[in-house]
């Protein structure tokens, strides 16, 4: 073959390979371009731990406890309901007032999440409990029969995206704030036709890169690629032999390259160390900051989510918080942690909007998994503030926020622009359910109808339907 003919043939073949559709795991043909995606990235924050509506939406926490004044604890997420900027945070008479730096809220050049996006101010939670709430957020289902310490009983949004949108394993991440409360179980279901092979990659950084990980994962012997290839050949043989006789065990399905990239990421994180990772990504934890020296699961989840985003540029990443759950026994600490989590959201969105490839190309959605009771329990803290559990109907009152960058497209663009800065829903007219987030994410990535067709979500709405 002449060189010219060869180049022509090779060019046509290459063009065909790029343009041709390929078969998804679901057996469907799908264009490789991802042209039907309304955003290149979705960041999903499970703003969890049980967030009481009165502290966040109503900003009436002091009057409810017998003190005076209205203040905005969540200044990065919400504007002050009094109409003017009020960034003063008062925890209580016995606790120093130390507001954390206002990153994107009123008075800054960014504008709060509320100002930049759309707030569903009166949203229904599907469950009064943490694990049920988490499962609703990722299954799009009431998950009433969901058992504690069990894998999700219905497919999760991670599996829907990997199966229907053809996302690779490292395109889909879940960063948990703890290994407690069954959080690591949430990365995939065991529902027939779905399961581990469509699951999300998961880290709980406070453990993975904390003491346990430091002792058992940080000093891995380096094996040359050739040796690892030998190992994989032999293991495949062993697995095939076992599949012939025993049970086939499904894995997350990271490719060889993805696996080695994740190992490389782990080595990099251990080399940096947790303090450096946290200080780098969460500036208020640096010396002199309001969170100086502070760690914990929520901060680690945020800091390592940002590291995962830098390394893997995932299409979909979920992270969760839960430090506000101290509200069962210490209301003042709850207020402090709520204020801290709001700051973390501010840092996250500011970073997203200033860091390629996420800048302008990302939609962020955040919801608590459940609320908290209207009336307190008898436990008083250092400020004589009463504590709150989560078991009554007030615990079903939550909120959802959605915000997108300038380059999101389709109805996401038109509706987010049209409703920008608006609050949707009132106490007498609640709008949306946290279950709707799954179809919303599916719609953003062009697979909403396929998720609905699977028949395991118990909602027929996405957030865009209400806008």
């Amino acid at each position: 073959m002449k060189r010219k003919d060869f180049l022509k043939t090779a060019g046509i073949a290459a063009a065909g390979a790029i343009a041709a559709p390929y078969i998804l795991p679901s057996g469907r043909l799908f264009a490789q371009s991802g042209g039907n995606h309304m955003a290149k990235h979705v960041i999903y924050v499970m703003f969890a731990g049980g967030v009481r509506h009165q502290e966040v939406i109503d900003q009436s926490y002091l009057t409810e406890q017998g003190a005076s004044g209205a203040h905005n604890l969540t200044q990065n997420m919400f504007d002050f309901v009094g109409g003017t900027t009020n960034n003063t945070v008062i925890y209580g008479p016995s606790t120093p007032n130390t507001p954390i730096n206002n990153v994107i809220g009123q008075g800054t050049s960014f504008g709060s999440i509320e100002a930049q996006g759309v707030t569903f101010a009166e949203t229904n939670a599907a469950s009064r409990g943490h694990y049920g709430g988490f499962n609703s957020l990722i299954q799009g289902n009431q998950a009433a029969a969901q058992g504690l310490a069990n894998k999700p009983i219905n497919p999760t949004i991670f599996e829907y995206l990997r199966k229907h949108a053809g996302f690779a394993a490292t395109d889909v991440w879940f960063i948990g704030n703890t290994i407690a409360n069954s959080v690591p179980l949430l990365n995939h279901s065991e529902y027939p036709g779905f399961g581990a092979e469509y699951g999300a990659n998961f880290f709980a950084p406070s453990t993975t890169f904390g003491n346990s990980g430091q002792q058992y994962l940080s000093d891995a012997k380096f094996h040359p690629e050739e040796q690892l290839d030998y190992m994989r050949y032999m293991r495949t043989f062993l697995d095939n032999q076992f599949d012939n006789y025993g049970a086939a065990l499904k894995q997350i399905g990271n490719t060889k390259d993805e696996t080695e990239k994740i190992k490389e990421f782990m080595r990099e994180m251990f080399t940096k160390g947790m303090n450096t990772v946290i200080n780098t990504n969460v500036p208020e934890t640096q010396a002199g900051g309001q969170l100086a020296g502070k760690g914990g699961g929520d901060i680690a989840a945020l800091a390592y989510s940002m590291e995962v985003m830098k390394k893997f540029e995932p299409k979909f990443l979920t992270l969760n918080f839960s430090s506000v759950d101290v509200c069962h026994g210490n209301y003042t600490s709850y207020l402090q942690n709520l204020h801290m989590c709001d700051y973390l959201i501010g840092e996250l969105w500011k970073w997203i909007q200033s860091t390629p490839p996420f800048k302008d190309e990302t939609i962020m959605i955040l919801s608590p998994e459940c609320g908290r009771n209207l009336n307190p329990n008898p436990i008083k803290d250092q400020n004589n503030f009463l504590s709150y559990d989560h078991s009554d109907t007030n615990a079903l009152r939550v909120f959802t926020q959605i915000v997108g960058g300038a380059n999101v497209s389709g109805i996401a663009q038109s509706k987010l622009n049209a409703q920008k800065g608006n609050r949707i829903g009132t106490p007498t007219n609640p709008v949306a359910n946290i279950k709707d987030n799954v179809l919303t994410i599916g719609e953003i990535f062009g697979v909403r109808n396929l998720i609905e067709a699977d028949g395991r979500v118990t909602t027929s709405n996405s957030l865009f339907d209400y806008m």
């Binding site: 290994i179 690591p184 990659n201 453990t207 002792q215 049970a247």
Partner: protein
């Protein structure tokens, strides 16, 4: 002389039978029951928990028991990773790097000195069964065809394979 021999034999018999120490059963002595090898991998139907997996794997690699506290800590580390197989590889690689104690793995020379024995020992150590002829042939051919292959990678393959997750 004959008399002397008779007396000697009688003396020895007297001591060996008459002075036999009465064995007392030690109430604190625990022993391991003899367990038969699996006939095939099909006999394994139960999935190991992370704790069991780590405990057994540590024993197989180091020929030592791991303390329950350490098992729990290592289990937490593995639980915190979504891709368990990847986590297992990293964990095994960490163990391979341990200096004290050290993993008990045949050297490459030992492996190549008697490949059949190496294969049989690996199957019995990790999978608690003997290899089939087909399995033995595969590994014999693979090890022979790849002169750079290290024994520790064979062990890593066994320690992270699916069958090893079951008992």
């Amino acid at each position: 002389m004959k008399k002397l021999t008779t007396y000697s034999v009688a003396f020895l018999l007297l001591f060996s039978l008459g002075c036999k120490k009465k064995e007392k059963k030690d109430p604190n002595l625990y022993q391991v029951n003899t367990v038969d090898l699996y006939h095939s991998s099909a006999d394994k139907t139960k999935r190991k928990t992370l704790d069991i997996y780590i405990s057994v794997m540590y024993s197989n690699l180091f020929q030592l028991a791991m303390s329950p506290a350490e098992v729990a800590k290592a289990s937490d580390a593995l639980y915190s990773i979504g891709d368990k197989r990847l986590g297992m590889e990293v964990l095994v690689s960490n163990f391979l790097n341990d200096v004290s104690p050290q993993v008990q793995i045949p050297t490459n020379t030992e492996m190549r000195g008697d490949i059949d024995k190496f294969i049989e020992d690996a199957y019995i150590r990790f999978l608690i069964r003997r290899p089939t002829e087909a399995e033995k042939t595969y590994f014999r051919n693979f090890i022979t065809a790849n002169p750079n292959l290290e024994a520790q990678m064979v062990y890593m393959a066994f320690a992270t394979c699916n069958e090893y997750q079951y008992y």
